[in-house]
Subunit: 84 residues, 2 copies
């Protein structure tokens, strides 16, 4: 089995209204030291082992469904878990 | 300056409709090997250095604003960045 962690971030050129709102609220309250805040997605996937190349499969999953590659970047980590 | 990465995940007992929909679509298309998929948040924060304890400040930011601790868990990584 594989455990996959996918980190999806908005491109720097893309505005992030939710992140901006959170940043302003933090600055306004106790945390004026906050300089930037961006909210992305953290996706955890578990997958059975198959004959496929797992990296290619995750790339395809990201490009086809999980990531909007027009405005988002992504990276991922794959960990093989040996069943007990 | 600090770069902080915050990973926010839904508790296992909490349903994740967006994650379930993405999982079903992946299984139905090319990826029947997907066994679970959960969508959380990945928050990147930059903060100026202050006299405060940075770990405590990030804990407070998470508990007070960024995380719904009723249904979400979180962990974070703090990296100190030395300006050039």
């Amino acid at each position: 089995m594989y455990k996959v962690k996918i980190f999806v971030t908005l491109r720097e050129s893309v505005i992030d209204p939710a992140g901006d709102a959170a940043m302003k609220e933090l600055k306004r309250s106790e945390f004026p030291e906050v300089e930037s805040l961006r909210i992305g997605k953290y996706i955890e996937v578990t997958m059975a082992k198959t004959d496929k190349n797992v990296e290619e499969a995750v790339q395809d999953m990201c490009r086809n469904l999980l990531v909007n590659t027009e405005v988002e970047d992504y990276r991922f980590e794959i960990e093989e878990v040996v069943a007990e």
